[in-house]
């Protein structure tokens, strides 16, 4: 192994460039933000430890996904009794399916911004409070004078609209 300093720098560059993709991958397997962030951090550490094995002529992400998957498994073992974890075989199925449709998911995200722009001011407010300002459910219920049920129903409908908007855009572009 050569001088480790430039290696660490290379890794930081790669991680900075790909951390969003890594988070998305982890989140699809463990759809809980706090857990997914912990796993992302543990994955970064694992990548750092094994970075001398990385072959720079190969794409980074598939290599990094393998580490992320292992960290997800470790998380499973620690939190085995959590009621909200997918079964192991389902997680495998999701990971495999995701690898197949990843370019399509990337395409969808690209179109999401235009769909966000089309939201009504009320929906934009909801997005901002929930996702950017990270307001808790209680706070939002108070603010909008809504029941918990209505609040999450509204969030569901909002994401559903965004999802449909993206699908429509893909169809217009003939890429669906």
């Amino acid at each position: 192994m050569s001088d480790p300093a430039p290696n660490a720098e290379d890794l930081i560059l790669l991680l900075t460039r790909h951390q969003e993709a890594l988070f998305r991958y982890i989140f699809s397997l463990v759809p809980c933000e706090a857990d997914a962030r912990d796993i992302l951090q543990e994955t970064s550490v694992a990548l750092f430890r094994k970075f001398d094995q990385y072959d720079a002529t190969r794409p980074f992400l598939p290599w990094a996904y393998r580490f992320a998957y292992l960290q997800v498994q470790k998380h499973r073992e620690k939190a085995a009794r959590s009621p909200l974890l997918f079964s192991e075989d389902v997680m495998d199925l999701i990971a495999n399916e995701r690898a197949l449709i990843e370019p399509r998911l990337d395409e969808r995200l690209r179109l999401l911004d235009a769909c966000l722009a089309k939201l009504t001011p009320q929906d934009k407010e909801l997005v901002t409070r929930r996702y950017a300002l990270r307001e808790g459910a209680e706070e939002m219920m108070r603010r909008f004078a809504m029941s918990r049920r209505t609040l999450f129903r509204n969030l569901e409908m909002l994401r559903q609209r965004l999802h449909e908007c993206v699908t429509r855009q893909l169809e217009t572009e003939g890429l669906a």
Partner: protein, 507 residues
């Protein structure tokens, strides 16, 4: 509960144990269910990571550039234009997201402003917090639409897009109809604006307000009072802050900066190391309006450029011109003769959005040996590369020496003028890139071999002219404007790059 609702409940963490077991079973059975789950989970992950939502700067509606008839003739270009519309660059660094996610206002104009706590620049997003202006004038534009002009010394607490507090100082507030209801707190009073312009003086814990236009409801210890145009509440011995000459002063300041730069530029263009120097001066008597003159001294008119598509727009200052690159065809054509051992490229650019995989600064046509390509990569980093393909190498293998900086174009740096530079010499192979005069990357490619010559030939600013066959990313036009571009046949040191930056910076 149907599949969709189960997925959403899972994503919101609002799912019961039984519902989760059902979702688990549905995902096991059905690949279409998995697909829907993956799409919705990915959408959620993106929303959780997208800092631009936080600043209130949700992407604006845009129309695809270019007339529809392109579709008929140039399907590839038209498709790319549609793609361009949707894609707004956003930074990935989560610590950065923290910094901008709570923005509620922005700093627009400033005049000799000095702040106690930080170095704030115009265009900066403001999070809730206190601003202490020591001297000068600063204008705060709240995301609600309300605008406040503040004179130093003053202490203002920005509470939200709809609310602020004046602890001390002189303030003048304009509230357009859309921001009706904006609240301004001051010692002993709370002012509720009903679409107005008013001034507020606070000194020694006493407040005085004067309404210039519209109506303000003043809440004090007394019953609420309606203040109309011309009315004053409270005592003050200082006059209320006038608005008229501020904008004049700002204009004068800009004119002076422009003149200073011009003075410097007249000397800088005599540098014998310059291959070409474009200041994007628009010639009113150029009947074709497409000439991009090379201003090096002595003159080398054969290195003048030709604008294609790109339109004239305002540069760093009013009266300074720039070329704007928006559409897939926009570019400036150049043909630079000669062979060089080193180069420095330096430009002033305002990037509106990093919306393609590669966003051109300067690229040679095709990509032959010794040719440099300088662009902005999709993550907002600067990317310099130079091609050297061994004679026996296959065409598909990668032989270009690529260097990336850290991402420099983030939500915060878009839409402003920035100075970019890259220096490379073919002996050491070292590539150094600069952003606003500061080094942002230093790298030697592992493929480097000393002494291989550098050439330009036919090349372009702001786009990629003649891509090599079968290349997957042919649309690379910059989305932004350039108002100065210097090309040197030598390496400029860090001090020299800093000098370029200091002499050209807008403020």
């Amino acid at each position: 509960m149907n599949l969709e609702s189960l997925i959403h409940a899972q994503l919101d963490g609002e799912i019961t144990r039984e519902q989760h077991a059902r979702l688990d079973a549905l995902l096991r059975e059905d690949w279409q269910a998995r697909r829907l789950y993956l799409e919705l989970a990915d959408l959620q992950a993106r929303l959780l990571q997208q800092p631009q939502i936080g600043t209130g700067r949700l992407p604006q509606d845009e129309k695809p550039p270019g007339p529809p008839r392109w579709k008929k003739f140039l399907p590839a270009l038209a498709a790319a234009a549609v793609i361009t519309v949707a894609f707004i660059m956003w930074p990935r660094e989560s610590t950065h997201a923290e910094a901008t996610s709570s923005g509620v206002a922005m700093l627009s104009q400033m005049l000799d402003a000095e702040f106690a706590q930080t170095t704030l620049r115009s265009g900066d997003t403001l999070a809730p917090g206190t601003i202490k202006l020591m001297k000068g004038l600063a204008q705060i534009e709240f995301f609600s639409g309300a605008t406040a002009l503040i004179e130093g010394g003053a202490e203002i607490e920005v509470i939200s897009a709809w609310e602020a507090r004046c602890v001390s100082g002189r303030v003048r507030v304009h509230v357009p109809p859309a921001a009706k209801g904006f609240l301004m707190h001051a010692p002993g009073m709370k002012l509720e604006d009903l679409g107005t312009e008013f001034a507020l003086n606070v000194r020694g814990g006493a407040s005085a307000v004067h309404v210039f236009e519209g109506e303000v409801i003043a809440h004090t210890a007394q019953p609420p009072a309606s203040l109309k145009e011309g009315m004053t509440l409270g005592q003050t011995d200082a006059g209320f802050l006038p608005i008229g000459d501020v904008h004049d002063l700002v204009r004068q300041r800009q004119e002076r900066r422009h003149a200073e730069w011009q003075q410097w530029s007249l000397e800088a263009r005599k540098d014998p190391r310059l291959i070409a120097y474009y200041t994007f001066k628009h010639w009113p008597d150029d009947r074709w309006d497409r000439l991009v003159n090379n201003f090096t001294e002595p003159r080398r008119p054969n290195r003048a450029g030709g604008a294609v598509g790109a339109r004239w727009t305002q540069g760093r200052w009013p009266g300074k011109e720039a070329l704007e690159f928006k559409r897939p065809g926009d570019r400036v054509r150049l043909n630079l003769d000669g062979t060089y051992d080193a180069l420095t490229l330096a430009c002033w650019v305002k990037v509106d959005s990093v919306d393609k995989k590669y966003n051109s600064l300067l690229l040679t046509d095709g990509y032959d040996n010794g040719e440099p390509h300088w662009q902005i990569y999709e993550d907002g980093s600067l990317m310099f590369s130079i091609m050297y393909r061994p004679p026996d190498a296959s065409k598909s293998a990668k032989h270009n020496q690529m260097c990336f900086s850290k991402p420099v174009f983030t939500a915060d740096s878009l839409g402003r003028w920035h100075h970019l530079a890259v220096a490379y010499d073919n002996q050491s192979g070292s590539v150094i890139q600069y952003f606003d005069g500061e080094e942002v990357s230093r790298e030697i490619s592992s493929l480097h071999q000393p002494g291989r010559p550098i050439t330009f030939g036919p090349c372009e600013i702001g786009n990629w002219g003649l891509p090599t066959d079968g290349h997957p990313f042919p649309i690379r036009n910059l989305n932004g404007a350039i108002d100065e571009f210097a090309i040197y046949g030598a390496v400029l040191g860090a001090d020299e790059v800093r000098t370029l930056y200091k002499n050209g910076r807008p403020e």
